[in-house]
Subunit: 345 residues, 4 copies
């Protein structure tokens, strides 16, 4: 931590700050210039609230030197984390595509979708059984029966399953049916839930909160890593800005920024990022071009009849286009889309 | 709902939209102008996703006519909701002050604070036993023993208790000790938690999410109201913006806006809103001036030693100043600060 | 400037950074800890782009130690700047109210308004003759004839005049008629215009840009101060956020923040801040309560017929209420509303 | 315009609204449902301020039906606007690359850069002679001598010239030397400047303002189009959000959104969008992938010595990589990078 004293700070103030830093367990290096004194506070104190020092008399600014997270950091682990799920390796050279409906609605719907996305080259089936909905009057998901339907459809079509858990009480149940557990954007700072993920032997798909900075997002990953679960996948899905034309503003710059700061894989969800069907394909292309390790895309066999997020779900033929275009972009950036369709292509 | 067709929309497109609206159960009024056709879709469908219509061919814009919430709305209930807690009436003429430390840290700390804030005129003791912390390495609260300490300190000093519940599993426990249950900003869209509040016979203090629009905040209130708990208190505590000088940007305009839209009481938390001690008093004055029904303020007997949020906690003598100044402002707006200090003044 | 090296930075990288800093003219203090080296770069380089150092190998973070502005800073000038305009002293104990229509529309309109706001206690007449309008099809102002009408109406009613100049070519003309020259939010970073203000012997009323940080706002003030014009008044008028219920989000926290950083007076414009008439009075009260040195308020004798911003303009009787309530709040914070109405009260 | 009356609005209120709409020249269609009355106001009133109606008693919401711009709209002109500059066609199948330094600094610097970017396949030379700088102490550009150097370097290397004009007084001068006149983000709402562009026989390169919505950006384009200059090129360059890791947040969703709303070409400037050199290439790839009609990129022969924006300027060999990768991406989306390098490839 670096403490910049005000130019007019007197000796007593400087010493008071040094005392206080020592009291918190920091070693202090003092450097006095013509106009200003700068104090370097050495010592690793994850979670230290620097405002403790900012409020002291004579202090102008305080900067944290070390990142507030440890296990999530590239300085902790230089090489990329890869997650081996047998059929699919996440975080490696392949770009992995997760696709499926917003919500599981029926056996027929999830089977049709699973078959279609598998045929087009997706390797993981997405779909919600417990849905966080902003209205209490909206469809809230089928619960366990939805999980069962999704598992069966995935198995029949050679797919893995990613689905969301919304509360601690559901974790065990979801882990029974899912290969990857999704933590939604609204729960990115639900710390009770994050802490419990250490007890579950499943990779975690952690969406960025709607107004989370990249640092806060990595701090939430740190919760999971510190709990003992080292298999975390990040997913950018749009942030809240002043622009009303799109549901959110997809922050594609976040991909190279995050990849420099952390060793964890980073996906992009263009469906939630833009919120309207006919903009999903160009943003999926851009996500692959910018370097994402994977995509999560909403696809529905009949979007007009979908019980949730139909308007941002792709028709099956649109998803086929998306896969074809993503495959071509992936080649340009020296990668390939995971999965059998590519193998046979 | 109002559907604006594009100026070039043809008859087939218009009829397709009308059919689709009928299919969703809406009656449709059609109004054709020289350049454009406008369709009025009548029927109450809370939670209807208007993007179902936006994606149809020939549709230019779709506007929802009715608010997405019902029980939270002033059109549902014209008169202000008041919450009678015996010693304190919330939402009436009095401005109610909740004060106390960020976290309960020890018996002595909470007792000293309770005595001090009671003497200064607060009527409700705040303090956290379960703390949502962005770092897994920060102090996470004392849990049940903290609740006990707070209850005892409040009782000894004639105060009520407000404290946060972070997960469904803690609700019963927290309700045992607290008079009001706080739902924090990070949990404003934790729908599992919101739904459970109907089962608890305690008023709910619902903080605005960091990036929640006023409409989303009222939708979260609707979850609680729809679950059967009609005693909801809203609290503005700052929103996330691009400005880095303050922890958040306190949105005081939200107070008159919310009071026009809903019958529920609205508080302001200037401590979290601004995040630094010496700005709390002017913003508390402004909050009372703008029409807030109450304040929530962080106070600590020794902020420098606080385990959380010390830098934004007031010293006791600063809190006394805050109360004195707020009392004077309250009089100007035709109100008074609740509590014995005022009575004897 | 403080440069934090990465924990793995080697000696060659550290020396390359030191060389580069020396090359820019900085003295460098080096402090090597167990894990990390921190470099303190001493030397005043206003406008230095710290990204020059951030891009070097082995650099983790770079922090600017000194503020980028000089004349605008409280460390340059400790005591408050006051601006003496004869009848009115800005930045002193009085809270100064500027009121009038958005645009000057006719002799009768401006005379009626001037008489009404003067009677209610305003001391400065506001009104636009050159209007920045987001649509090229909207009323663009009366130009010089508007300036003449406003000057005459102000003189007849004992008021001073504040009005906006939109371009360098109009500065001389506006200065002929106005006592204070307003620079609008959209021109806060029109540097050609700011630089010319040094040539004009008039105080400058500098509105905060819609998405300007407080630091950028003070940098724009620095342009004017550095050009030789030391009489700058700042005005908060709302920033752009994600919240759609109000035209902008009035950032009242900015008032105490700015007053700590600079010696310049700070006003608040609640009319633009909130954008809808019936919210203006509560926010004006809050602005006085938070410590503003003055208010700028839109008033129109017949808002329904106003050619611009009618919906946010107060009726005359509403403005009288605003003045009465502001007077009462001002007393609580140890100030008074400037002007004759107060004197006789 | 559509006016939604409150559910409790009475007949007198409804009639008052109708009268007022008629007074503004609108024809009114009335549609009364069980709970609510909806009024359709027909008539084209560009620039009409809908708050005139919102403030009336009994009005719940008012929606504008038509876009506030006309000439900028796809409904006014269905086919894409192309701008033929002889060597280069903007807005057609080719993706056009503008490259060069932030500022022109010397003859040698601009000549070296021009030669390098031309060799790599750029067709237009960018560079600033008049620079908008947030600090009055930063390098402000070489003025006319910079324009001369840039023109000469461009001519020697077969390039066109794009450069910024910051004020009305410079327009004639800039037009003498430039093929395209850039209007910077800070001047996007400098209406005096926009209006003058009709008098200049040069295409306009209009950057999006830092906090401008897409609608406001198109309104600024409308100013230029309405002034008689029909050759406008839009450029996305990042918007201001809460995320501090990047200088701005590049809004790539804006590209497909804008292309649906307008017929004008849309470029992307990844250098300003992300602000740090090693993130520029991935975002340039993403911009071509998402469908941009061109790129504007900062390149410097010696970025470490650049007088402005060096840290976001590419080294020449990085720019060569960018071109190679962009070419490959362009092919995937059925386009090609304009220029001789491609022709000979």
């Amino acid at each position: 931590m670096v403490v910049i004293m005000e130019s007019g700070a007197d000796e007593a103030q400087i010493e008071a700050v040094i005392d206080r830093l020592n009291g918190f367990g920091f070693d202090v290096h003092r450097s006095s210039g013509v106009n200003q004194t700068v104090l370097g506070a050495v010592g690793v104190k994850p979670g230290f609230d620097k405002r403790h020092i900012e409020v002291l008399d004579g202090v102008a600014e305080v900067y944290r030197v070390t990142e507030p997270y440890k296990f999530a950091s590239r300085s902790w682990k230089r090489e990329n984390t890869t997650i081996d799920l047998g059929k699919v390796l996440i975080g490696g050279d392949d770009v992995v595509v997760m696709a499926g409906p917003c919500s599981v609605e029926s056996e027929e719907q999830i089977e049709t979708t699973a078959a279609a996305v598998a045929a087009a080259g997706a390797t993981i089936l997405r779909g919600g059984a417990f849905k966080p909905r902003s209205s209490p009057y909206s469809f809230q998901g089928l619960g366990e029966s939805g999980l069962k339907m999704m598992r069966a459809a995935a198995d029949r079509n050679g797919l893995l399953v990613v689905t969301e858990a919304m509360e601690v009480g559901h974790l065990g149940l979801v882990a029974e049916y899912a290969d990857i557990i999704q933590i939604g954007a609204r729960n990115m700072q639900n710390y009770s839930l994050l802490r419990e993920l250490g007890t579950i032997n499943r990779p975690v798909f952690l969406k960025r909160g709607l107004s989370a900075t990249i640092e806060e997002w990595l701090m939430s990953a740190e919760y999971v890593l510190a709990s003992g679960n080292t298999r975390v996948i990040l997913c950018e899905r749009g942030i809240r800005t002043f622009e009303p034309s799109t549901r959110n503003t997809l922050d594609l710059s976040a991909v190279p920024v995050v990849k420099a700061k952390t060793h964890l894989p980073v996906f992009v969800d263009p469906s939630h990022g833009v919120g309207i069907r006919n903009k999903v394909i160009p943003l999926a292309r851009a996500a692959v071009a910018v370097g994402a390790d994977g995509l999560m895309v909403e696809v529905h066999p009949n979007p007009d009849a979908a019980l949730s997020d139909g308007p941002q779900s792709l028709f099956v033929d649109q998803f086929e286009d998306l896969m074809e275009q993503s495959r071509a972009i992936a080649r340009v950036v020296g990668r390939r889309i995971a999965g059998p369709a590519e193998v046979t292509a």
